[in-house]
């Protein structure tokens, strides 16, 4: 009887591990399906839902993604240009970035570029319908970000950033007119 119980338990554990691996593999497959060749130019609309604010803060503009940088150009409500590289987030023509911005820059770069290596290293990946859910592995990142969703079938259509303080950012992408 005891032997049978141990066997069932072992089977259940193996099945659990197998299911996790499959989820991660499926998520990775989804990410590679969403990935598009670089350089890539898209238009975006960002909706920021901040705790305590009665409505979302909406901004929109154009984004150019290359191998080592993202040019984030907001057109509305206020014109602004941001350059996101592994070294940090640089506003307009500034040469220096703020302390600690390189971590969030690397993360944004990896999500928007669909950098599988970095994403797999930093997050636990799983699949939710047509979205890849990314939960941070490190305490540092988990202190800021609860989870990130990358949604879309043949390309990234929407990215959702769910912060630990209840804030949420939705970024919708559309192909830029040729």
């Amino acid at each position: 009887m005891m032997r049978l119980f141990v066997l069932i338990l072992a089977f259940m554990l193996t099945a659990g591990v197998k299911a996790d691996t499959e989820t991660s593999e499926q998520a990775l497959k989804k990410l590679s399906e969403q990935a598009q060749p670089l350089p890539l130019k898209v238009i975006f609309e960002q909706r920021k839902y901040l705790s305590g604010l009665p409505r979302a803060l909406v901004s929109s503009g154009e984004m150019t993604i290359t191998e080592d940088a993202i040019l984030w150009e907001t057109q509305k409500p206020q014109k602004q240009s941001l350059k996101i590289t592994e070294q940090g987030i640089f506003k307009d023509s500034q040469q220096t970035s703020a302390t600690g911005s390189e971590t969030i820059a690397e993360l944004l770069l990896a999500i928007l570029k669909q950098d599988e290596r970095v994403l797999q290293e930093q997050f636990s990946l799983s699949l939710q319908k047509n979205c890849v859910q990314m939960v941070p592995n490190s305490d540092t990142l988990a202190g800021v970000m609860q989870r990130i969703l990358s949604c879309g079938d043949a390309r990234v259509e929407r990215v959702e950033l769910h912060e630990t303080n209840g804030n949420r950012t939705e970024i919708n992408f559309a192909e830029a007119p040729q």
């Binding site: 409505r55 206020q78 302390t99 600690g100 490190s138 305490d139 800021v144 912060e163």
Partner: protein, 744 residues
């Protein structure tokens, strides 16, 4: 005294000793830190800082480097091995250098109150549009908003947070592991903390063994991985292993040799037993006197007091040899024994005039221990049965030596014994060089020092040992004062992370003015919120334990400087001072060295006058002066030659002078015994034996890899050798009675 009364006397003496020690020892609080050994002029603030830096809980750092791989690969390997290490060694834990959660939580709670100096100035200058525009920029960027916008609509605290100094610049934190990629090379740092007592040798060895196992396990995964260690625990472990090895080889071998020589010469283990018992009792008297003098003795005092062993053995050997040669030899010895002993005791008593507690304690210990040793030797040795004469071969060797020296004395010009020490002293003074840096005393293995230096050069998070200390009556006052200091020196203090209340209040008031302006009202309307109502509050910052320390009724704030950054002095801020513990310890060692030099000079001069008054009482004045001068010359020659030779290898430091102190007191003894009315061959039997044991025991220290110990050993070895070679050239006093007694 009858046998019974002697036993009763000894029992009373021992009883008093045991009672005294059992009463005083529990009250004693032994000091071991360098701060306690420093001179009295260490300020309260400096003492508080040194005490706050005691390495009972220590941090250590291990770094791994690899080329051609991603930081993630190396980090994964290191992370899994760290988990194994922390499970195996519960006293180790990850060092909480930057606890992100606590950090963020603090700034979220204080959002709106904390603003950078630049933003405060912009508010003051009325640059409202610029500030609002910056907030809007941040809100429309993909960057997360870390602070509650209802409390901080301008996101001033988020900008303040981003401007904070980074304790690990260039590194990314991954659950307590820090990684950096520099071209092809990836580096992963493992900062750890020892929760137990890092000063416990057993625990240190156990922890270091586990750490080395962890390093091996990581390196085994790939031959390309290199490792680097940094932390006091590695140096402490290397030091302990080195000391253990040296103790085993040098200590064990020299002890074996000394015991063999003593047993061979005396042919009696009883004499050895008597010597050891006397040593123990006299040392106990010394300790008791020290405890009466000071309830907080320093352990370093006991280290310096080891020289007592050589002196005590010297007295006992003289006593046994004199007793074995009959009553007259004993009678001739007693005044010499007292004269040698009292001169040395007077010398040590002089240490009480030196304003350094450690040397005062040493003076009390040595004076009391020596007095009881001389007293017990002169009192108890006659009660013992007459010991066997020393080994015949030993006696013949000493007689031949005596004859050889007599021939030499006839051949040498009479003034040479004056000329020789004068020449060495002149050369010593002319070539004198000293270096009191505590860094010279380091004895860590070269690879460990290279690893430590590599990490200092290739990472930029090491602070300079030099710090700025700020004192204040209250916590707020000390933070206010710190903010005045750290901004002028680009240094890192508590106010770099948490502005004082006055600045918070300022930022809140200026923001209120902005929110009341038309631009501010429009901005708040765009957000859909009303103006926040805030007050400045006093709070404890998560990094506070690294910068703020309460002491007595005051507060101490430590402002840390980056490597290579030097602070100026603060003439206009009496509550701030620059402090470098290493420089301070070095100057303390220098002060000790100078005190020792003065003490040696005074003792030398005093010894001449004491010898002139008491040596060979009843002899003609000219004879007394000649004998005293010769003894003085031999002492001077021994001390100066030892220091001169030591100076050839390294500049002189405190430990050379402690060795010189030992040479001086032993030379006084040898000189007094040679110049007294003892038969020269008898005196030589004891002097040679005492010198031989001293040379073997202390000379072995010359080979120590700890520079301080080697310096001490070298001076003692050379000094005692010179002393024992030149003492027999002192003109002997007449000794008719002893010869007659020995023939009978």
């Amino acid at each position: 005294m009858t046998r019974v009364s002697r036993v009763v006397f000894l029992l009373i003496l021992l009883g008093l000793l045991v009672a005294g020690l059992s009463q005083q020892l529990p009250k004693a609080s032994w000091q071991s830190s360098l701060a306690d050994a420093l001179p009295n002029q260490v300020s309260e603030t400096q003492r508080a800082y040194l005490e706050s830096q005691q390495p009972n809980t220590q941090q250590l750092l291990i770094a791994f480097e690899q080329s051609g791989h991603s930081a993630g690969e190396l980090r994964t390997i290191v992370e899994s091995e760290v988990a194994v290490l922390l499970q195996r060694e519960p006293t180790l834990k990850r060092a909480e250098l930057t606890d992100t959660k606590a950090f963020l939580s603090f700034y979220r709670e204080h959002a709106g109150r904390l603003a950078t100096k630049q933003d405060t100035e912009r508010l003051r200058a009325g640059q409202f549009n610029g500030l609002i525009s910056d907030a809007q920029s941040l809100l429309q960027s993909p960057e997360p908003v870390l602070v509650p916008v209802t409390q901080d609509p301008l996101l001033l605290t988020q900008r303040y947070l981003k401007s904070l100094p980074d304790l690990m610049p260039g590194y990314k934190n991954h659950n307590g592991l820090y990684s950096r990629t520099d071209g092809e090379t990836v580096q992963v740092l493992v900062p750890l903390q020892i929760a137990g007592d890092a000063l416990s040798i057993n625990q240190t060895q156990q922890v270091v063994a586990q750490l080395h196992g962890f390093i091996r396990a990581v390196k085994q995964t790939d031959a390309d991985i290199s490792s680097y260690r940094s932390g006091l625990i590695f140096h402490a472990d290397a030091g302990a292993k080195q000391a253990k090895q040296e103790m085993t080889w040098f200590g064990g071998l020299s002890l074996l040799l000394v015991l063999s020589v003593l047993i061979w010469v005396f042919r009696s283990p009883f004499q050895l037993f008597y010597t050891l018992s006397l040593l123990a009792v006299a040392s106990a008297f010394g300790l008791l006197a020290t405890l009466f003098w000071s309830s907080s003795p320093h352990v370093l005092m006991l280290v310096f007091a080891t020289s007592f062993i050589g002196l005590c053995i010297d007295y006992v050997i003289h006593g046994f040899i004199a007793r074995s040669h009959g009553a007259s030899a004993w009678k001739a010895l007693t005044p010499a024994l007292w004269l040698g002993g009292l001169t040395t005791i007077a010398g040590y008593a002089l240490l009480l005039a030196v304003p350094l507690p450690l040397l005062q304690q040493l003076g009390v210990f040595m004076a009391a221990a020596l007095f009881s040793a001389v007293l017990l030797v002169t009192l108890t040795l006659p009660w013992l049965p007459k010991p066997k004469q020393p080994q015949a071969k030993w006696q013949r060797f000493c007689e031949k030596a005596e004859a050889g020296y007599c021939r030499l004395q006839r051949q040498l010009p009479s003034r040479w014994l004056t000329v020789l020490p004068v020449i060495t002293v002149v050369i010593l003074i002319a070539a004198h060089a000293s270096n009191d840096s505590v860094r010279l005393l380091a004895s860590s293995p070269k690879p460990l020092l290279e690893e430590e230096n590599y990490l200092r050069e290739h990472t930029s998070f090491y602070f300079s040992p030099e710090v700025i200390l700020v004192a204040g009556d209250t916590r707020q006052q000390v933070i206010e004062r710190t903010s005045l200091v750290d901004e002028s020196y680009h240094a890192i203090g508590i106010s770099s992370y948490y502005p004082p209340i006055s600045q918070q209040q300022d930022a809140i008031e200026l923001q209120r003015q902005l929110f009341e302006s038309s631009e501010g009202v429009a901005f708040l309307q765009w957000l859909g919120i009303s103006a926040p109502k805030l007050n400045a509050v006093e709070a404890a910052h998560p990094l506070e334990h690294q910068f703020l320390y309460p002491f007595k009724d005051l507060w101490l704030s430590v402002v840390r400087l980056k490597q290579g950054q030097a602070a100026a002095s603060f003439g206009d801020k009496p509550w701030a001072q620059v402090f470098d513990p290493i420089e301070h310890a070095s100057s303390a060692l220098g002060e000790y060295r100078q005190s020792m030099q003065v003490w040696l000079g005074v003792l030398l001069a005093l010894s001449f006058f004491v010898l002139f008054i008491f040596l060979n009482r009843g002899a003609a004045l000219k004879e007394k002066a000649k004998a005293s001068w010769q003894v003085f010359s031999v002492i001077l020659l021994s001390v100066s030659t030892a220091l001169l030779i030591a100076q050839l290898s390294q500049p002189l430091n405190l430990f050379h002078w402690i060795g010189a102190m030992f040479v001086l007191v032993l030379s006084i003894d040898y000189g007094v015994f040679c110049a007294s009315r003892l038969q020269r061959s008898h005196a030589l039997q004891a002097i040679y034996l005492s010198a031989l044991t001293t040379l073997v025991a202390f000379g072995a220290l010359t080979f120590s890899s700890t520079p301080a110990i080697a310096a001490f050993g070298q001076v003692v070895m050379v000094g005692v050798l010179v002393s024992v070679l030149f003492c027999p050239l002192i003109t002997a006093a007449p000794t008719k009675d002893i010869k007659k007694d020995e023939v009978q």
